[in-house]
Amino acid sequence: MKQFLAAAFASLALAFASPVFAQTPPNVLIVGQIAEPKSLDPHAVTAVNDFRILVNVYDGLVRYKDGTLEVEPSLATDWTISDDGKTYTFKLREGVTFHDGTPFDAEAVKFNFDRMLKEDHPFHDTGPFPLAFFFSAVEEVNAIDATTVEFKLKEPYAPFLSNLAYPTGLIVSPAAVEKDGKDFGRHPVGTGAFKFVEWEANSRVVVEKNPDYWDGAPPLEAVIYRPITDANTRIAEMLSGGLDVMVEVPPDSLKQFRDDAAFTVYEQAGPHLWFLILNTKEGPFAKKEIRQAANYAIDKKALVDNILQGTAEVAAGPTPPAFAWAYNESLEPYPYDPEKAKQLLADAGYDGSPLTFYVTEGGSGMLDPVAMGTAIQADLEAVGMKVNIETYEWNTFLGKVNPGLEGRADMAEMAWMTNDPDTLPFLTLRSEALPDSGGFNSGYYSNPKVDELLEKARSSTDQNERAGLYKQMQEIVKEDAPWVFVANWKQNAVTTASVENFKLQPSFFLMLQDVAKPQ
C-alpha cells in the first residue's frame, strides 16, 4: 500500500511537471496577507489587513511622513488653521485625476466626507462607515473653489489632521461610487500609485502600476495580494517560493527566516500598547499601592523575550514611543522587583483576596494573550496575589470588558493601536470616558489633572504645546498606575532577498510606492 502510494505520488508529480515553482516575473510583487479584505472602500473598513491594500490605491489629503507618525502634504499641498482651531482650509493639488479619469477637486473631497457623515446623503447607504466617528467633530465641508476646500469643526479637535492621514480619510472617486453604489468596495477607484485590476474572491486582489501617479510612477508593475489565514500555511508558501512578502510572521518562525540568506526580516515598532486594565473602583486595585505592586511584580522583560520572542518591547507608560514627538523619553518602565511589590502589598494591607482576570483567546493586536495571561498569573502569585483566569473568545471578551469591569473582574487584558497620541488616553483614561457615557474607561480611572491635560491637548493646534501636555499626562498616569503597562508590539515582515527598498512604517501601513523587485 505504501509503495503504491509513493509510486502514485511520484507519477503524479512527473505528470504535472509544470512551472508552478518558477519565480514570479520581475516587478510583480506577491504579498501574503492574513485574511481576505472585507472591502476596498476605505471608509467601510477597520482592519489593518485591508489598509495594507488601500494605502496603495488611494491617497488622502495628508499622509504620514516616511518613517514617522507626523503628517505631511499629499492631495492637499498646504493648509491653514484658524486661530480658534475650528476652521481648516486646504489647498488641493492641481491636475490630479482618479483612476477612472474623473478629476480630483474640492467637490470630490466634499462628496467623500458628506457620504460618510450625513445620513441624508444619497450615497450614505453605500456604508455602513464604522469609523466615521473619527470625523464626528466635522460640522460641514465646503468647496470654496475647485482647489480649495474648507472643513468647519464643531469644536477644536487636534487629532483632526492625523485622522485625515488614516485610511478612513482616503479619498475615493465620487463618479465610481455613483456608478457602483454598494458594490464600490469591490471596484475601488482612487488616485494612488496603483490601480485596481481585479479581486478574485478568496484567491487574490491584483493592482497595477499607475503610470500617471502625481508623486512619480512606482517601480513595480503589479502587486498581488493573497489571503492566507493560517500562519503555518503562510510560512510554507513563503518557504516554497509562492510569496515575495509575508506580514505578521509568528515569533517562533522569525529565527528561521533570519538565518536564511534567501530572506530579509524587517521589524518596526508601532503605535501599539498591550496592557492590563485594573479595576480602580473596587477590590484590591482601588488602592494605588496595590496597582503599583502589580506593575513591579510582573516581569515584562521575560514576557517580551520569552513569550513574544523579541517581537515587542517593554512599555513604560500609556503612550507608545512610536509617537516620537509626544513621547516622554524620561519615562522608565516599572522595573521587575518582586520584593518591592511584596513590600507595597504589605504596606497597603492587601488581605490576599483573590483576583478575577479576564483573558482573551486572541484578537486584534492581542499577540499571544493566553500564554501572556498565564505568565502574568504566575508572576502575581509569586508575590502572594491569587489570580483566577477567565478566558473568553474575542467578541465575547469585548462584550464583557467594554461595558466596564465593575462587579465582574479586577483586571483584563487589552491592546490598542491608534494613529494619534490623543486617541487612546482620551477614550480610556478620562473621568468622562466611563463605559456608560460611551467611552472605554473600563477600569474607572479618574484624575482631574489628567482630564484637564487631555482636554487642553485636544483643543490646542500647536504641536509643541500638545507634546508638553501629553508628556505631563504620561508621568501622572504612570505614577497612578491605572494599568499594568506591558508591551509595545513591533510589526514584522519577511521578504525574499530580491525585494528592494522595502520598508515598514510606524503606522503599520504597507506602503509599496518605492518597492522594486528587479528579478
Binding site: 500500500m1 505520488f9 508529480a13 504535472f16 509544470s18 512551472p19 508552478v20 515553482f21 514570479t24 516575473p25 510583480v28 506577491i30 485574511a35 481576505e36 472585507k38 472591502s39 472602500d41 467601510a44 477597520t46 455602513p128 464604522p130 469609523l131 466617528f133 454598494k182 468596495g185 469591490r186 474572491a201 478568496n202 484567491s203 498581488i224 493573497r226 489571503p227 492566507i228 489565514t229 493560517d230 503555518n232 500555511t233 510554507a236 508558501e237 518557504l239 516554497s240 509562492g242 484578537g363 486584534s364 493586536g365 473568545e393 474575542w394 467578541n395 465575547t396 469585548l398 462584550g399 464583557k400 467594554n402 461595558p403 491592546a415 490598542w416 493601536m417 463605559p435 460611551g438 472605554f440
Partner: protein, 314 residues
C-alpha cells in the same frame, strides 16, 4: 422509485426549516454581535448601536427571522455584513470549491477503501491483510489537519513537488491541470480517514458475505474465484457499504473545514468558520442551508443506489 424520491425530498423540507431555526437561535445565543466584531476596540455602546441600526440588526429576533425567511422564499439570501457582497454569490462560489475537493476525496477514498477492504478480506490473515489493517488503523487515528501540515512540509517546502496552498496558481495557471496539481495534497489528506473507515467496513462486509451459502453454491457451480469475489460477493457486500459511503460523504464535507483552513482552499468550510467568528448571521445561514441540503441529497443518492442494488428493499 420516483414517488419514493419525491417523498424523501418533501421530508427534507421540515428538516432544513428546523435547521435554519436552530442556526438562528444559536447565533442569537452566543455572545457578541456583528457590530462589535466589526468595530473591535472601537465598539462603544454608541458606535455599536449606530452600526447595528445601519445593518438592520436593531429589530427583534423573530422579526429578523421572518424577514430573512421571506427574502429566502423569493430566492434572496441577503447580503453578508463582513464581505459586503450577496450571500448567494459567496456561498455558491465557495461551495463549488468544496464540492471539487470533497468530490475528489470521496472518489479517492471509495476506490482506495473498497480495494483495500476487498484485498484484506479475500486474503484474510495474510501478510497483505495485516499490512493493510495496520495502515488503515494509522490512517483512522492520525488527525487530518496534522497530516496536512506534514504533507505540506515534505511535498511543498522540502521537495517542492506540489503547491502548499490555494486552488490555482497565483500567477498564470488557472486551467484543469493547475487545479489537479493543487488538489493532490488536500484531497489525499481529506480522504485518509474516510478511506480507513470504508476499508474496515468493506473487509467486514466481504468476510460475512464470503461465508454465506450462495457463495459456496457459486463456487460449487464452477464460477471462477474472480467471478465469485467480484460478481457475487462484492455486489452483495456493496449493499451494506453504500450507505456508509453516503455517511462518509457528509463526513468528508465536515472534515473539509480543517483541511480547507490548512491548505487555504477557498471552500465553504473555511468560510463558515470565519463567518461564525465574525457573527455574520446571514452568511452562516446561507452556508449551513446549502451544506445541509447537499448532505440530504447525498444520503438520498446513497439510499437510491442501495435500493437499486438490493432487490429486497424495493
Amino acid at each position: 422509485m420516483l414517488s419514493y424520491i419525491a417523498k424523501r425530498l418533501l421530508a427534507a423540507i421540515p428538516v432544513l426549516f428546523g435547521l435554519t431555526v436552530i442556526v438562528f437561535l444559536i447565533m442569537a445565543m452566543i455572545p457578541g454581535d456583528p457590530a462589535t466584531a466589526i468595530l473591535g476596540s472601537y465598539a462603544t455602546p454608541d458606535n455599536v448601536e449606530r452600526l447595528n441600526r445601519e445593518l438592520g440588526l436593531d429589530k427583534s429576533l423573530p422579526q429578523q427571522y421572518v424577514i430573512w425567511l421571506g427574502n429566502l422564499l423569493h430566492g434572496d439570501f441577503g447580503r453578508s455584513y463582513t464581505l459586503n457582497r450577496p450571500v448567494i454569490d459567496e456561498v455558491m462560489e465557495r461551495f463549488s470549491a468544496t464540492l471539487i475537493l470533497a468530490g475528489t476525496s470521496l472518489l479517492l477514498c471509495s476506490v482506495l477503501g473498497l480495494l483495500a477492504g476487498v484485498v484484506s478480506a479475500v486474503r484474510q490473515y495474510s501478510w497483505a491483510d495485516k499490512a493493510i489493517t495496520f495502515v488503515v488503523l494509522v490512517g483512522i487515528s492520525v488527525p487530518s489537519f496534522w497530516l496536512g501540515l506534514i504533507l505540506i512540509l515534505f511535498f511543498a517546502v522540502k521537495w517542492q513537488l506540489f503547491p502548499a496552498s490555494g486552488m490555482y496558481a497565483i500567477y498564470g495557471g488557472g486551467d484543469l491541470k493547475d487545479l489537479a496539481y493543487h488538489l493532490v495534497l488536500p484531497a489525499f489528506t481529506l480522504a485518509v480517514v474516510a478511506t480507513g473507515v470504508i476499508a474496515r467496513l468493506t473487509r467486514t462486509a466481504m468476510l460475512e458475505v464470503l461465508r454465506q451459502d450462495f457463495i459456496r453454491t457459486a463456487r460449487a457451480k464452477g464460477v471462477s474465484e474472480r467471478g465469485v469475489i467480484y460478481r457475487h460477493a462484492f455486489k452483495a457486500a456493496l449493499v451494506t457499504i453504500i450507505p456508509v459511503i453516503g455517511i462518509q460523504a457528509g463526513f468528508v464535507l465536515g472534515g473539509a473545514v480543517y483541511i480547507e483552513t490548512v491548505f487555504q482552499w477557498p471552500g465553504i468550510g473555511s468560510m463558515l468558520v470565519k463567518a461564525i467568528s465574525t457573527r455574520d448571521l446571514l452568511l452562516v445561514q446561507g452556508g449551513v442551508l446549502v451544506v445541509a441540503a447537499a448532505y440530504v441529497l447525498f444520503n438520498l443518492a446513497a439510499d437510491v443506489i442501495q435500493t437499486i442494488l438490493d432487490p429486497r428493499l424495493r
